[in-house]
Amino acid sequence: MSQVTLYTNARLIDPATGMDQLGDILIEHDKIAEIGTIKDNTGLIETVDCGGRILAPGLIDMRTHDVDSKSASAGGITTIILQPDQKTIIDSEDEVERICDRASRKSSVNVRPMGAATKGMKGTELAEMGSMLAAGAVAVSDCRASITNARVMRRMMEYATHFDGLIVNFAEDPALAEGGFAHEGATATKLGLAGIPVEAEVTMIERDALLSRMTGARVHIALVSSAAGIDAVRRAKAAGTKITCSVAPHYLHLNDNALEGYRTFAKVSPPLRGEEDRLALITGIADGTVDCIVSDHDPRSEDVKRLPLAQADAGIVGFETLLALSLSHVHAESFDLMTALKAMTTTPANLLGLKAGRLAKGAPADLVIFDLGKPWVITDTKLKSSEKNTPFDTLPVQGKVWQTIVGGAVVFNS
């Protein structure tokens, strides 16, 4: 059966071209067939009236630790980039294929893995980057482990240039960070927590930038958390470095005060930093220093969260709050809607070599339709994620997903 659907009366936003206009979009099978003002002369095509809601490319979430596709689709996410830190580390061609296979059978959203940068993510020997990229991996990364050894990083970058591979590094010098889990500052001092200095992040960004200029490889900083880190990226970009970076919404919303009362749901890695850092990240998005917004979705059960702060796991669930939390800065006029959407669609697509992330004839019909202004309250028990570890329970937000469409099929409908 040929599946043709016409979405009418939508505010079409395409960050790839900067288009923002009222119009219609025609989906044939799993592709976008036409964009503009479309009349159904036959009267036979299934038509959906979007009621003026925004229709944009589905979100591409560049950093997630769990497939959790029900939650992803509810968050308007159509492609998730799975990190290699799975039960079996994704560090081989076979493992990449297995993940892609399993996702195509079980997941309602697209899943593409990042391969491990080094074997077993141990930081010493290069993993088979070429084979993994050929099998469907979109980049390489050691996930939560920084690639510390400068010689390994240098060789990896040199090697990656042949494949135009993207190396994603978690910027945290393990020696400076050792034993710490909170932002080294007044809050950690008062609460008696072991801190991680901002400099742990900055030294690693500076080194990666240096090696990237030396080798010409593309490097992406996984989660920048500090003002000094943003400055380092900004300087590197100005010097012509092929460096990009991401932030996650919780770093834009919370500072280290969230740890008061030893709230383990605010324990994340890298740690939530000071207020000036939070503001600098928002500025970084506005001025283009920050390229992508990611969820860092990481479900953790109560068993590993209801613990003393030092022993509790880091991580929060982020799929269903990614869009709304990002939009709250749009509503606050900290950055504009196009910038926010671009950081979650076109830019990650371009970095990872994906066809999605744009509204164009022939592009995959991966779409999100959402109400920009609709208010709702984040409620942990109502989340569809496998675990409910969010620090944003009871937070009122604006902007709600109406429909999520993957490959032409509706996978979430509010």
Partner: protein
């Protein structure tokens, strides 16, 4: 050193006296941070009464008999545990001490399960020490009875700060207006944090003196003045509080050696000479002689209040056990 003098000491706000027998506004004693000057004074005044009781031939009273006190210590401790045990027994409580050796209680589920299990035994007060900051608060959320923090990680050790304050008040007659230097390993010290909070609340001026590696980041925002030199920092202080060097936490990069530490930051007679002539020397114990303090300073009964601190410790803990179990006892049943 008369009793009247001690009572006129403190911060003006603390001059309000709560009507005798009124219930304390906190269920648990988790830290000095939760206490206001009036509440601190109530605890100190009550402790003063128990100092007298502890000096009599008959040290025990049956005021709290029938109540159960459990001491749950996840970290090794001799003096604090002993102090709480004696305090409970002098009040007539049934006191049980459990040393949850770190081997048996390691995982978090077990930790919360332990709390639930103990709660089912219906204790009236639970005294907890744990090696991780914030853990006592976490456990307190599961308990129906009063919980007293006997030290959590680097966070707080409220009864230590109270006993230090009581010692100072008895020797100096007041707290407000005094300049107190806290010297040594501030980074790893819960004693330092509780003392900073308490002394600031009561109107004392607090200085920290430590090697730069042992001063935590932004600690000046707790309302203290920082010094790295003993000579500068000790100038004209009324009280010198030494901290124990947590040798087990040093791991190489904080200090090159203990002897070098002693040379620059150990309290010797020469360094003490920079303080006021009548400066009081304190140490929470156990002392590393020849590391943070010279033996002749520690043993000088004129200047050193170290033995007195231990005595005040029992009295302060009696006061805390008394005050925090008041809502479990009939109206008017005040020790």
């Amino acid at each position: 050193m008369s009793k009247d003098a001690t009572h006129k000491d403190s911060y003006p706000r603390a001059e309000v006296t709560l009507p005798n027998g009124s219930h304390f506004s906190h269920k648990h004693l988790l830290g000095i941070e939760d206490l206001d000057p009036v509440e601190i004074k109530v605890l100190l005044d009550q402790a003063d009464i128990y100092v007298g009781q502890s000096r009599q031939r008959n040290k025990s009273t049956p005021h709290l008999s029938g109540l159960t006190q459990i001491n749950l210590f996840f970290e090794n401790s001799t003096r604090t545990l002993g102090s709480f045990e004696i305090a409970g027994k002098r009040l007539g409580m049934d006191t049980v001490s459990m040393s949850a050796a770190t081997s048996s209680v390691k995982k978090g589920e077990t930790l919360l399960d332990t709390a639930v299990t103990l709660n089912a035994m219906r204790p009236d007060v639970l005294v907890i020490r744990h090696g991780d900051s914030g853990t006592v608060k976490l456990l307190a959320e599961k308990m129906d009875c009063a919980v007293i923090n006997a030290g959590d990680g680097r966070h707080e050790h409220p009864t230590q700060a109270l006993l230090d304050a009581l010692t100072i008040r008895n020797r100096k007659g007041k707290l407000h207006g005094l300049t107190v230097a806290i010297c040594g390993d501030v980074t790893h010290s819960r004693v330092a944090r509780s003392n900073i909070l308490l002394l600031n609340a009561m109107g004392a001026r607090v200085r920290l003196i430590a090697p730069p590696t042992l001063l935590p980041k932004d600690v000046e925002r707790m309302g203290v003045t920082l010094f790295t030199s003993m000579e500068d920092g000790l100038k004209d202080v009324d009280v010198v509080m030494m901290l124990r060097l947590q040798q087990e936490r040093m791991e190489g990069s904080f200090l090159p050696s203990l002897s070098e530490y002693y040379r620059f930051w150990g309290l010797t007679r020469e360094k003490l000479a920079f303080a006021k002539d009548d400066a009081l020397v304190m140490h929470p114990g156990p002392m590393n002689r020849g590391v943070e303090i010279a033996s002749d300073v520690a043993d000088d009964l004129e200047k050193s209040a170290i033995q007195e601190q231990v005595e005040m410790g029992v009295a302060v803990r009696m006061a805390c056990l008394d005050v925090f179990t008041r809502d479990r006892r009939p109206e008017g049943d005040i020790a």
